[in-house]
């Protein structure tokens, strides 16, 4: 499906996220209800969820969630996986029977670790680098196979349908996670590729995105310098790779990354009275000018430790949040939070470029 598709997918959307900062896990029931009340914002052509803390028994293994068009794609991808990884467990991802869910690919998951000989062969790369390279390779080169997620103790569940239907299809009420992120999609074309639904994932990262990235062309070319291959026909993947590059490879803290992808305006930087801070912000913009994300967006992104909501520089897409005790809620609309949070506290309307952060306590 994917390889016959020539166009970049464009979509409007709803996003929602729930995180317990103490690491207390809740079932997927809440996030399904939360995203379901924003049904108006999706059109049945994409929904998905990411969940952190769901595989405690296999928390030291990379969990590969895979989609296959057919058995051949599955055999090719498994053959590739098995050369580099020891597969501890492989199983079909459990689903219910639901006739309304169409064009179902084969859904499979694998818990794997890198073989020592592979680590020795790529002694100059980290384990994560090797996994990233393999994910890029499978997604770009193995026809009909797609890596949905590749992190540890987390997974992404997504498909074509309304998000609440996709959630029930994957039986998410049976999973328990301390971070849940959801997405309901309103694509403006009708190509039904399951891999094109959100969230997008790489290693522990998962991101959902409402918006369109007008800087996509340069973000993509910038990332290609660092070995990332943008092959998913969506502008959202550049957000994912930018975070991976800046946080994991360049070792920058989240708040600094926000100052890069969502850079303050020059006039704000010029006005900043703190000489050191002004110099830092200026240097960030000069070095990372091609990593600036432009265009309307609201995103929720997580690496398992932090869940962050972020808007574009002029706040062209909605995002609200609420913190109730040690639980942080974020959503496109207030109703999605009220549906699952009993607190009477006021909703917080973040400003443009202002990150909303939930952080896991030790």
């Amino acid at each position: 499906m994917r390889h016959s598709e020539q166009e970049k997918l464009i979509s409007g959307c709803s996003v929602a996220g729930i995180m317990n900062e103490s690491g207390r896990k809740i079932s997927g029931e809440a996030i399904i209800r939360s995203i379901a009340v924003m049904r108006e914002r999706s059109n049945g052509l994409g929904g998905g969820f990411s969940a952190y803390g769901i595989y405690p028994k296999f928390k030291n293994y990379f969990a590969f969630h895979m989609m296959y068009d057919d058995k051949k794609a599955m055999a090719d991808a498994e053959g590739y996986l098995k050369t580099n990884y020891r597969v501890v467990k492989s199983e079909e991802i459990p689903t219910i029977e639901d006739k309304s869910i169409k064009n179902r690919p084969l859904l499979w998951r694998y818990f794997v670790e890198l073989k020592d000989k592979v680590k020795n062969l790529y002694y100059d790369l980290t384990e994560e680098d090797i996994v990233v390279n393999d994910v890029m390779k499978i997604n770009a080169e193995i026809e009909g196979a797609f890596v949905t997620s590749s992190g540890k103790n987390m997974g992404i569940f997504k498909g074509i349908g309304y998000p609440e239907d996709i959630g029930r299809y994957y039986k998410l009420e049976e999973y328990r996670a301390y971070i849940w992120i959801a997405h309901g999609r309103f694509p403006t074309n009708s190509v039904g590729w399951w891999g094109g639904a959100h969230p997008f994932g790489l290693l522990n990262w998962s991101v959902v995105h409402n918006g369109e990235i007008s800087s996509y062309g340069i973000n993509k070319r910038y990332l290609e310098n660092f070995g990332y291959r943008c092959s998913l026909f969506t502008d959202t993947e550049v957000i994912l790779y930018l975070f991976d590059l800046l946080v994991r490879k360049h070792k920058l803290p989240f708040d600094i990354v926000c100052k890069i992808i969502d850079a303050p305006l020059w006039e704000e930087i010029d006005r900043n009275g703190d000489d050191e801070e002004r110099e830092l912000l200026k240097t960030l913009r000069i070095i990372y000018s091609s990593a600036l994300i432009n265009g309307p967006f609201s995103i929720i992104i997580s690496d398992g430790n932090i869940m962050m909501g972020l808007n574009d520089r002029v706040k062209l897409r909605p995002l609200v949040s609420l913190k109730d005790g040690d639980t942080v809620y974020m959503a496109t609309e207030e109703c999605a939070i009220r549906e699952v949070c009993k607190s009477k506290k006021e909703i917080y309307y973040s400003k443009s470029s202002e990150p909303i952060i939930g952080k896991l306590k030790n």
Binding site: S214, I218, R221, I256, I286, I287, L292
Partner: protein
């Protein structure tokens, strides 16, 4: 053999009923086209001397003068055109090289006119620059791949990276190299002062620096070309950046020639050559015979200026521009200025101007792509030059991959230039390409500054409108962003080299 008559290029039409014989045309024409006959109190014209600059037409108080192209000539012939026959005739008479001024005027494809820009509809709101911030600032210079941070004892982030010196541009447009000597001091002052007020840079060319221009040093890129005219320690220290000129789009592969007639006392001081002597720049730099020599010169200049100034290299867009640019980047240049074949000049052999080099559109697209493939694009900034006519051309060049553009011909047109292509004669009626004090005073630098500022302001407003339409609020997000470009009327091969899709293809 009888001298073959070549037709005059222009005809001066004078409406006898309107002409009041005020003689302003007679006094003002530097080419002595107009002749006053006191006996009859009439003004007549010598068409053969007219260069078509339209200066008299502008001054005539009664609109009596019209300059027309001479249509009456030889039998029409696509191969043997009037200009071909005229050139051959001139060469048969003189045995000389045909000289010309300004950029190539041949009808090669102008690729800017075959590239279309994108705009947002519904799915992505366009941004209104009247209501929302819109950023045009760019920094030119070498950048590291990543920032290095440290944490102090209080846990506060400290910046470890020491950026190499950058040029801050408030608008990604600069004034390209035009030497004092080829153009008048009033032109230089107009460019320098406008740059200072606009927060951009102008370039000295190979003319050295007149003493009155030192105060604009912070907005000056000083050039070092093969003749080394006017280069001395204070010159190096005064500029904001140093540019080594290897080549020029209008005349790749050859040097320069400022005729002695233009070397006035003040020009001779700025260039450090005797008054009235020809200033001849050799074709190559005689200390650069290979890429490693360029590397040494770049580093010698950095040493001489305590690593406080970016050192750029200007090359002409030639067939091998891609590997040349890659080599220049690896030789340590902070920026590469690429000058396309439509770039202007004060004087060039016509055959070279019209037949050597490639268009800037291909050069900038191919170089940007190659530097990215090689992973060295961040190490060097790219400046595109050569025939930019409008903000549309500028924004397309930036989307193809240029960090900024150089303009010169457009700037001269803003100052009055009518593209008569006679700069090399030193008789510019508009006071631009001349050193004759009678002519140079026609260009009032205060008015010149205002006109240049107006032009850049107008283009900035247009660029902001186009950016907003694309849903972008910083020029940073357009630089190298070719998804916003589409080709029209181009072959697959041309689209491929430009790295853009065809109109009608979605993202």
């Amino acid at each position: 053999m009888a001298k073959r008559p070549t037709p005059t290029e222009f005809i001066v039409e004078r409406d006898k009923d309107r002409c009041i014989a005020c003689q302003v045309c007679v006094r003002m024409c530097s080419n002595d086209v107009h002749i006053y006959d006191a006996d009859t109190n009439t003004v007549t014209s010598d068409n053969s001397k007219c260069v078509g600059c339209h200066f008299c037409e502008t001054l005539c108080p009664t609109d009596a003068i019209t300059i027309k192209k001479n249509e009456s000539s030889f039998k029409p012939n696509a191969n043997w055109s009037v200009s071909v026959i005229s050139d051959i005739t001139k060469q048969a008479e003189t045995g000389g090289v045909i000289l010309t001024g300004m950029g190539c005027d041949k009808p090669y494809t102008i690729y800017w006119d075959h590239i279309l820009l994108n705009a947002s509809q519904v799915t992505n709101p366009s941004i209104d620059p009247l209501r929302e911030p819109m950023e045009l600032r760019r920094y030119i210079g070498r950048k590291p791949d990543k920032i290095e941070l440290d944490y102090n004892k209080k846990g506060k982030i400290e910046l470890k990276t020491m950026l190499e010196k950058q040029l801050k541009l408030e608008v990604p447009i600069m004034f390209s190299a035009m030497s004092y000597g080829s153009v008048s001091l009033n032109t230089c002052i107009s460019l320098a002062k406008a740059s200072h007020e606009l927060g951009i840079f102008y370039n000295t060319g190979e003319g050295g620096l007149h003493k009155s221009l030192y105060k604009y040093g912070k907005n000056t890129i000083i050039q070092i070309a093969s003749g080394r005219f006017g280069v001395h320690p204070e010159y190096l220290r005064t500029g904001a950046a140093i540019e080594i000129k290897i080549g020029q789009g209008a005349k790749p592969g050859i040097g320069g020639h400022l005729p002695g007639e233009k070397v006035s006392k003040e020009v001779s001081e700025a260039r450090m050559i005797p008054e009235g002597t020809d200033a001849i720049s050799p074709a190559p730099h005689h200390d650069i015979y290979s890429i490693e020599d360029l590397r040494q010169l770049i580093h010698a200049l950095k040493e001489a200026t305590d690593y406080e100034k970016p050192v750029g290299v200007k090359i002409a867009a030639v067939h091998n521009v891609v590997p040349i640019a890659s080599g220049v980047a690896r030789a340590g240049a902070d920026y590469i200025a690429i000058d396309g074949m439509r770039g202007g000049t004060g004087a060039a052999p016509k055959v070279i101007r019209d037949n050597v080099g490639i268009p800037i559109e291909f050069a900038i697209a191919a170089v940007d792509a190659r530097l990215r493939e090689e992973g060295i694009r961040t190490k060097v900034s790219l400046i595109a030059a050569g025939g930019f006519r409008s903000s549309g051309d500028v924004i397309k060049a930036i989307a193809l991959g240029a960090d900024a553009v150089y303009i010169a011909t457009s700037a001269l047109i803003a100052l009055g230039c009518s593209q008569c292509q006679k700069c090399y004669t030193g008789k510019c009626n508009w006071g631009i390409a001349t050193q004759d004090p009678y002519l140079t005073k026609r260009l009032n630098p205060e008015i010149g500054v205002q006109r240049l500022k107006n032009l850049i302001r107008a283009w900035s407003l247009e660029i902001k409108d186009m950016l907003g339409g694309m849903g972008i609020n910083s020029i940073d997000s357009l630089c190298g962003n070719r998804t916003h470009l589409r080709g029209i009327g181009l072959s697959d091969r041309e689209l491929e080299i430009l790295g853009i899709k065809s109109a009608g293809e979605p993202q």
